[in-house]
Symmetry: C2
């Protein structure tokens, strides 16, 4: 990548392109045009070409993009070619679901710790791992080289856990607790609030707007 | 609302304002300035005033916004003041977590059906409801007035289920399957792809960009 300032919206679309490319590779397809990519990803081909130009990929006229090469380029850009150990904090229903989620173990992400504050849960096995006490959070992060953490605790515990994770050296947090977290720069934070998603859908379901409501 | 064309980004922030207002109401606070709202929501006060102006709410100089009134206005705008029955399709780990998720039963959303294709799961109880066969999807949607559906199945089944849900009269879909779904206008669709969220975080964790990475 020559220009490392990839726009935020482009970054958010890279995983989608990667999925399309990996599906194509599995089907034995070796090249894809920007139109092919656009159709599969639900975008315009102009958008696809613009996005990929940020990676330095321009395709070849009349041929398109070479599938394995472009998949590699996107994987490198996303940091998926190195091992990414992560911990999940909060092993309630959602934490258990996340621990068992196939998608987390693909693409180089590896769940290396499941932490909970409840003594009744510590020591039980979830998705092949023993749940550990959140008291050992700092040691676990340091010893296992953890850079990513997923918070799936109730809202009141989320900020103090985020603070501890950041102090322990975490670089990125994925927050499922329905609360607004504050983390210092340059720690990356994304919040997935399921109730918020439903409320947004509820707005569009009412048909109170004439806009395109498809935000998928 | 005078102007019903509320921008998509504003709609996406309304649930956050509502949460702040409900927290304030619970704490006995009766008015909030745009600065108070901005701080609590992690936004600028100019953004808050602009967003709320789309609802026709302008606050009062020196007083601010009246908490219960603004909460009501946002609730009405989001369609949360009427009962919103929803079904969850796919009762694996994620579906179970969603069925038990408190946030779904707040704000007027009510889980009225849990559907799965696996005969071993049908008839078992999850979060106080009996799992039902997905064969009865059309009947359940029609008889229980279901307008919203959550898809938590493996990717290969998601599109055909989405088609059936849309044909049955669903107005909005929240998709957790890691695949790109296509639904006809005006059905609303939002996709929450947990693996995509992690890949986006992975990008920012590498520090390959100088941009503000906090997208929460």
């Amino acid at each position: 990548m020559d220009d490392r300032r990839i726009p935020e919206a482009t970054v958010a679309r890279l995983p989608r392109y990667l999925q399309v490319l990996l599906d194509a590779a599995e089907a034995g397809t070796t090249t894809l045009s920007s139109e092919d990519l656009a159709t599969a990803a639900g975008l315009t081909s102009a958008k696809v070409r613009k996005d990929l130009s940020f990676l330095g990929s321009h395709g070849t006229r009349g041929v398109g993009y070479r599938v394995p090469q472009l998949a590699d380029e996107i994987s490198v850009a996303l940091g998926l070619t190195v091992d990414r150990p992560l911990v999940i904090v909060g092993i309630g229903n959602l934490g258990r679901a996340l621990a068992s989620y196939d998608g987390f173990n693909r693409r180089g992400f590896r769940v290396v710790g499941l932490l909970d504050a409840d003594p009744a849960k510590v020591g039980t096995e979830v998705a092949g791992l023993d749940v550990e006490s959140v008291e050992h959070l700092e040691t676990i992060v340091a010893e296992r080289g953890v850079g990513l953490a997923v918070i799936a605790t109730p809202a009141p515990h989320a900020q103090s856990l985020a603070d501890r994770l950041v102090a322990a050296g975490i670089g990125a947090l994925l927050n499922f607790a329905p609360t607004h977290l504050v983390v210092p720069d340059p720690v990356a934070l994304r919040t997935v609030d399921l109730s918020t998603e439903l409320q947004i859908l509820s707005f569009y379901e009412q048909g109170v707007t004439g806009m395109d409501a498809a935000a998928g």
